[in-house]
């Protein structure tokens, strides 16, 4: 049996899954103490499912905590970046396109030194150890422990990043170093941005993963623990403690995959309404449609491959203003259960409107009885318009599409949408994220430089795919269920007429243990 847990900004949900059958679920507000929140959900779901801890074969955790930390600019460590690219790159320094508040959160500690490589694998310049040591001394004197290192063409030649990381670790014993080539792809600016975000999150990640593991140990659960990544595949929890940035978009991925399972559809628009935002994504052939372009995380440009998600500021806790004409983007968030009118609070929220218009029963309706019918109607229409506009921007064509509503805030939508051919609110829709985590897949990724003058493209594709398959099987995938999720072909050199970098990702279901 599998246990899926989703630790979101507002709710912590748990789902127990036997095959694809839900045997228990629980939804609770996220507590500031992650460990206690997990223990509470765990206890509740085990009781609900009448299941013993010994029956759990694997735990899959999805979390949006790292994304939220970036968006809210909180719990980010002061972070330094050393880029080796000079004399190239002086015109476009690191962090130059960051939003001011994001930059303030990590501090503008950036250093450019000579080094890095050219497209042909030759050094731009020898790595400037003198400047490197000066940068490290400065970082050390500022007391900064989180350090990202980046060098031109490091995905092809990692040498200078490895040297820089070694020097940083040598001079700052307790530094946590993120090497850009380990988490990002070609595109120096985006890769170094991702590395800085990752480095800034490592402290938080260690704390969070540690809390998760302690919670499970406290309840005597000793099975493998996985955390879901951006692409909907699983990674060992210990790995995520070092690479938290790889979870940035796992929330929407899990919700879309969960919605697919719940609705039985493989092509639809998924609207996941939470406490503060609604995330609109596209389900295509059972998987999230991936974004075509650069993904901004909290306004910072990165080059992760992530599901194409349109977030809008509408959630259960969104503030209602201007007599219902303006909803969000401000929200009471996880304080909904105390701040919302129906819960005896003093703030008019989107949830209060949903109670007042009769689309759901929550809290005490007496507290919204005084609202003017006109305000209720205006706000109700506005919420539907907001979702309609967002679906319209995401749908593949002008044709109406099935819309699956999931998430705790799905109660806000009670009427038909112009853009929707049908509106589906599946059972258990409020725990789609945890469900998506529970059904997450195991992936294997292999990247190789190939020369099409030595081997045909088809042969190269076959070989690299086979290696990726072996890797996925080794990571615990069921060989019968393997399929290619992604093929990326990048040409990096024009010295050799037919050289390409081939990256193939295959995924499969987690092998069932007997």
């Amino acid at each position: 049996m599998r246990l899926g847990i989703d630790v979101g900004g507002t709710h912590t949900d748990a789902v127990l899954l036997n095959g694809s059958e839900i045997v228990g679920f629980h939804k609770a507000l996220t507590s500031s103490d992650v460990k206690q929140g997990i223990i509470d959900s765990l206890d509740a779901v085990l009781v609900a499912g009448q299941v013993d801890t010994a029956e759990i074969d694997a735990v899959m955790i999805g979390t949006t905590q790292f994304t939220n930390a970036v968006i809210q600019r909180c719990d980010l460590s002061p972070t330094a970046l050393i880029r080796a690219s000079l004399p190239m790159g002086s015109g476009v320094p690191p962090l130059c396109d960051w939003p001011e508040d994001a930059l303030a959160a990590v501090g503008d500690h950036q250093y450019m030194i000579q080094g890095g490589h050219l497209y042909n694998g030759k050094p731009i310049a020898e790595l400037d150890h003198k400047s490197l040591n000066r940068a490290i001394a400065d970082i050390s004197s500022k007391g900064i422990k989180a350090v990202a290192v980046a060098a031109s063409f490091s995905p092809a030649v990692a040498e200078h990043e490895l040297l820089m990381a070694k020097a940083v670790r040598h001079r700052i014993a307790d530094a946590t170093v993120t090497l850009s080539h380990e988490i990002g792809r070609l595109g120096l600016l985006e890769r170094e941005n991702a590395a800085v975000l990752n480095a800034a999150l490592v402290d938080l990640a260690r704390h969070v993963v540690n809390s998760m593991e302690r919670a499970l140990i406290e309840r005597g659960i000793n099975c493998p623990v996985y955390i879901s990544q951006n692409d909907g595949t699983l990674m060992a929890a210990a790995t995520i403690a070092r690479y938290p940035a790889l979870t940035f978009s796992s929330g929407p991925t899990n919700s879309i995959r969960g919605a697919a399972l719940l609705s039985g559809l493989s092509d639809a628009i998924v609207v996941d309404i939470g406490g503060t935002t609604a995330d609109i994504g596209v389900l295509a052939d059972g998987f999230p449609r991936e974004s075509n372009s650069h993904i901004e995380v909290g306004g910072v440009r990165t080059n992760f491959r992530m599901p194409d998600i349109l977030p809008i500021g509408l959630g259960g806790g969104s503030l209602v203003a201007l007599n219902g004409r303006k909803i969000g983007p401000s929200s009471v968030g996880y304080c909904l259960s105390t701040e919302g009118l129906v819960f005896g609070g003093n703030t008019l929220t989107a949830t209060d409107i949903a109670v007042a218009n009769g689309s759901c029963k929550l809290g005490d309706g007496v507290h919204v009885a005084h609202l003017q019918a006109e305000v209720i109607e205006t706000a109700t229409q506005r919420m539907h318009e907001m979702i309609d506009e967002a679906v319209d921007r995401m749908r593949p064509s002008e044709k109406p599409v099935p819309v699956i509503l999931v998430g705790g805030g799905a109660i806000l939508i009670s009427r038909s949408l112009k853009t929707a051919s049908q509106l589906i609110q599946p059972d258990h829709a409020d725990v789609a994220n945890a469900l998506g985590a529970a059904i997450a897949l195991v992936g294997g990724e292999v990247e190789h430089f190939v020369s099409y003058s030595a081997i045909t493209r088809d042969e190269a594709l076959t070989q690299v795919t086979q290696q990726a398959q072996q890797k996925a099987i080794a990571a615990g995938a069921d060989a019968e269920t393997l399929r290619v999720l992604d093929v990326e072909e990048t040409v990096i050199s024009y010295m050799d007429d037919a050289a390409a970098r081939l990256r193939i990702k295959v995924v499969g279901d987690l092998r069932q243990t007997a």
Binding site: S85, P87, M88, G89, S90, G91, V92, C96, D97, G116, L118, Y119, N120, I124, S152, F153, L186, G187, L188, L189, A284, R289, E290, N292, S293, H294, D308, D392, R393, M394, R395, P396, S397, E398, Y452, R457, D486, V487, E488, E489, V491, I492, S493, Y494, M495, D496, D497, A498, A499, A500
Partner: protein
């Protein structure tokens, strides 16, 4: 005369990316560079070709090389201005205005900040009205300007004077220099009189690209929603015709480098009819588009591609499996419709075995 400052650069780059027909590199990096330098050195003064005095010395300036490399080998602040300053030193002539090679892609921004740094105007126009891979395909040499003397500069501070008897030789020489000097260099070239510029430049393309970019950026939604405005914008411009050729999903891409060029192809599958496919032939730019084997657009007409859901222009390097794209055909400037210009820019000039048929006749 108009002023174009840092605040216009994002719009210009969005428009330039659209007109780049898939090539010209990702303008993001040159956008950041231009924003920083224009913010520091003040806005650039734009001057329309028909306002340029006969005796002006206008020099074309931009970057030459493999666009992919600039994703990793980011530009320096002074490479382009070094090329221009050295041009003046070596030729002993002072330059009155600069003009972009091509409005398509990152090369649209370089003369703007060079002009601002130098305190001279930048021409509101360019030598292609789009992006194309080789120097002899520029309207400047086609209508009589000589490419050299030219001065090239690299990121390491090296400069070099190039002198050639014809533009084909110049193209071979400068391409080789780009490869040996780090993959990307800046070049100040095609010095010409104001009179020669008026005959050859594709006019008003910088201000057009800025308006086009503003439309795309402000909208941000599905491309279908702005077809009316888009059509009107193009009809009132040097281009005239815009046609939506195809909307579909990328199902295969293949790319390789041959002789320094990014050669490839991509296959799109229609969203409505899976049997209906578009094939795109790419050589740095999108050169030929076929639907079910029939040519629907080809060089020198423009094939411009946007992400269908967001209206964002898509660079050929970023084309990946699963993307949903809208493909447009756009009529090229009249400068390319003469037999002499077509000989250098038609499909046969790129090795395809068929004749050019103007977009409006396809």
């Amino acid at each position: 005369m108009k002023q174009l400052g840092a605040e216009h650069i994002r719009d210009l780059c969005a428009g330039a990316a659209f007109l780049a027909t898939g090539g010209g590199g990702d303008p993001y990096v040159s956008m950041l560079l231009a924003e920083r330098l224009l913010a520091r050195h003040g806005p650039a003064t734009l001057i329309a070709p028909d306002q340029v005095p006969d005796d002006f010395l206008v020099v074309s300036i931009g970057m030459v090389g493999a666009p992919t490399v600039t994703l990793e080998q980011l530009p320096t602040e002074d490479e382009a201005i070094n090329a221009l300053n050295r041009y003046e030193e070596l030729t002993g002539r002072s330059v009155d205005a600069v003009v972009p090679f091509e409005v398509g892609g990152g090369n649209s921004t370089i003369p703007l900040f060079v002009a601002a740094m130098k305190g001279i105007p930048c021409i509101d126009g360019d030598g292609m009205g789009r992006a194309l891979p080789e120097a002899q395909m520029m309207t400047f040499p086609i209508y009589g300007a000589h490419p050299t003397p030219a001065v090239i500069a690299d990121a390491f501070g090296h400069t070099e004077l190039l002198e050639c008897t014809d533009v084909h030789e110049f193209e071979r020489l400068i391409r080789g220099k780009a490869v040996t000097m780090g993959g990307m260099i800046s070049s100040a070239e095609h010095g010409m009189s104001g009179k020669s510029l008026r005959r050859s430049a594709v006019p008003k393309t910088i201000s057009f690209a800025t308006r086009l970019g503003a439309l795309l950026c402000q909208h941000g939604g599905t491309i279908e929603a702005i077809m009316t405005q888009l059509t009107r914008l193009f009809e009132d411009s040097e281009y005239g015709l815009i046609k939506l050729l195809f909307t579909g999903k990328v199902i295969d891409t293949e790319r390789r480098i041959v002789g320094g060029y990014d050669i490839g192809s991509a296959t799109l599958q229609s969203l409505d009819n899976p049997a209906c496919r578009m094939e795109l032939m790419i050589r740095n730019e999108y050169l030929v588009a076929k639907v079910n084997q029939k040519v629907v657009a080809s060089v020198p007409d423009l094939i411009c591609i946007v992400e269908q859901e967001t209206s964002r222009p898509l660079n050929a390097e970023r084309m990946r499996y699963g993307q949903r794209l809208s493909v447009f055909g756009i009529g090229c400037t009249h400068h390319y419709r003469t037999p002499q210009a077509l000989a250098l820019t038609e499909p046969r000039a790129f090795g395809f075995d068929f004749d050019y048929v103007p977009l409006e006749e396809l």
